[in-house]
């Protein structure tokens, strides 16, 4: 579905991404894991058109999207759940959900119902300002907002960041549920353990380059990965 080839990105005066290549097949969950500053977020942000690349290619459904405007990229069916949720805190929960469907012109009722099935907490709080939600609820809302665009590819940047382990489990269960409904997922995580468990393919990034790759289950038992990221 998406093929990244030899992508190089300069960010803040350094070469943050040094010519990486990977692909996300349709219907899969693919994860990029790695430490802080490895260039994972920059990669996602480049795909979303928020950061300009130096060179390389990003093809989505066979078409080159590198250098295209964010609104154009999003309208092709890519969405991003940004790092730190980035909700609109002074919009209500309901408005945050609706704004996710900004580009759609059709009825939203069924989607909203599905979202509320997925996240009953959001239904209870639909009238509250998003800024008043707890961390876990905010993450749910960020995912809900992204789903409202009916994405083909959902990119998620550290969805587990700052959340209690139990809530992280819930979020990952929902990621799988979303994936089963046909949404392809590109997931960035520092929580390598959880991410690799649900991923079809995993890529390990270190200082801007991919150093290891393989099916999630294999990386989970790989000695290097275990030492560096799983703490055992």
């Amino acid at each position: 579905m998406i093929e990244v080839e030899n992508l190089k990105v300069n960010y803040g005066g350094i070469e943050a991404v040094k010519g990486i290549s990977f692909s996300v097949p349709q219907g899969d969950i693919v994860t990029l894991i790695g430490a802080n500053g490895a260039g994972k977020s920059t990669t996602l942000r480049t795909i979303a058109g928020l950061v300009k690349a130096k060179s390389g290619s990003i093809r989505f459904m066979g078409e080159e999207i590198l250098g295209k405007d964010t609104v154009d990229i999003v309208s092709r069916g890519i969405t991003l759940v940004p790092e730190g949720r980035r909700l609109f805190p002074d919009l209500t929960v309901m408005e945050n959900i609706k704004i996710g469907a900004y580009l759609r012109k059709d009825k939203l009722d069924d989607d909203i119902e599905w979202i509320f099935d997925l996240f009953p907490r959001l239904k209870e709080r639909h009238w509250q300002l998003a800024g008043t939600l707890s961390g876990g609820e905010q993450q749910m809302l960020a995912v809900a907002r992204a789903l409202m665009s009916r994405p083909k590819l959902m990119m998620m940047d550290e969805p587990s960041l700052g959340l209690a382990p139990l809530i992280v489990k819930g979020i990952f269960r929902i990621i799988q549920e979303i994936n089963q409904r046909g949404v392809t997922i590109l997931l960035i995580e520092q929580n390598a353990n959880m991410a690799l468990r649900i991923a079809d393919m995993g890529y390990v990034m270190e200082t801007g380059a991919i150093t290891l790759q393989g099916p999630g289950k294999e990386l989970l038992v790989n000695d290097e990965v275990r030492q560096a990221y799983l703490g055992s």
Binding site: L50, T70, T79, L80, R86, L91, I99, G131, Q138
Partner: protein, 302 residues
């Protein structure tokens, strides 16, 4: 200092005048507050957009002899386009630049418009056309006011209610509120930031145009620097109300208009300091409540 105790009628008359002046301020102050809300820019050119509107009206009515309602329509459209043009030419190229560059650019636009007006319209004072429909005097009980004094607050109120509806209950308004908070995430939602910003300038300029056309009927001497003082005062009104907040701008403007008229009523000796009142009010508000009366709450859970 002498305190003048006015008669009840004079007092009511003054309140009516204060309301009218405050409403005129409100129409211009909204432009400052909306642009600040989205770009975090104090648009110094806004007062000069106001000035251009008055000249547009002057030319349409006094030179081209158009009926006032046709002229007003043209003025509104022309001013709206001018606002969008200024944004495209002077602010859009600086989208990624530090905010101070944007501020300097707006000061540049302000000087440009003023000097353009001197060259194109000449520096001599012109007389804004009189429009009997608005300027006929009517009596409300013992208070005699121009019809304009009744119309201005009503027009302002209708426009503000319409604007609040647009901002709070429509998709466009939702996009504006989202963009004013976070450009990047708004883009990820598919919101076209440039269109939202153009829309903001369009609304601000159109409201300023409405204010300017009414202002001209009340204070008919126009010259190229006529927008400077109202511009500054309306900016102050927006700060008093809490810049970035539309209701705040309206409240701040009404307070300022009322203060100006009532202080000169009770203390005729101070009438020479009329223009200073706004600046004193600004200093007081910045000392006592720097975020303004309805200022943005900073508390935010992350």
């Amino acid at each position: 200092m002498m305190i003048l105790i006015p008669t009840w009628d004079t007092f009511l008359q003054a309140v009516a005048n204060g309301l009218t002046l405050g409403s005129l301020y409100a129409l211009v102050a909204i432009g400052y507050t909306m642009v600040y809300g989205i770009l975090r820019l104090i648009n110094f050119a806004h007062g000069d957009i106001f000035m251009m509107s008055m000249y547009f009206a002057f030319y349409m009515i006094s030179i081209f002899y158009l009926p006032w309602y046709v002229a007003f329509l043209i003025v509104i459209v022309a001013t709206g386009l001018l606002g969008i043009l200024i944004e495209r030419a002077a602010y859009k190229p600086l989208r990624e630049a530090p905010r101070i560059s944007l501020l300097i650019s707006s000061i540049g636009v302000s000087f440009l418009l003023e000097n353009f007006a001197v060259v194109a319209f000449s520096g001599i004072q012109r007389q804004y056309p009189s429009i009997p429909f608005f300027q006929n005097v009517i009596s409300l009980g013992s208070v005699r006011v121009q019809r304009l004094s009744i119309f201005v607050p009503i027009i302002m109120a209708v426009l503000v209610v319409g604007l609040l509806f647009l901002v709070n209950y429509t998709k466009t308004g939702m996009a504006m509120r989202a963009a004013s908070r976070d450009f990047e995430t708004a883009k990820v939602m598919g919101i076209n930031i440039n269109r939202v910003i153009s829309m903001t300038f369009l609304i601000g300029s159109v409201l300023a145009a409405v204010g300017a056309m009414m202002w001209g009927m009340k204070y008919p001497q126009i010259q190229p620097y006529v927008g400077v003082m109202p511009g500054l005062k309306c900016f102050i009104a927006a700060v008093i109300g809490g810049i970035g907040n539309i209701k705040g701008a309206v409240i701040g403007a009404l307070i300022l208009g009322m203060l100006e008229i009532l202080i000169t009523l009770f203390f005729p000796g101070l009438s020479g300091y009329k223009d200073a009142i706004a600046f004193i009010a600004l200093i007081v508000i910045l000392l006592v409540r720097p975020t303004g009366l309805l200022g943005e709450k900073q508390a935010e859970k992350v």
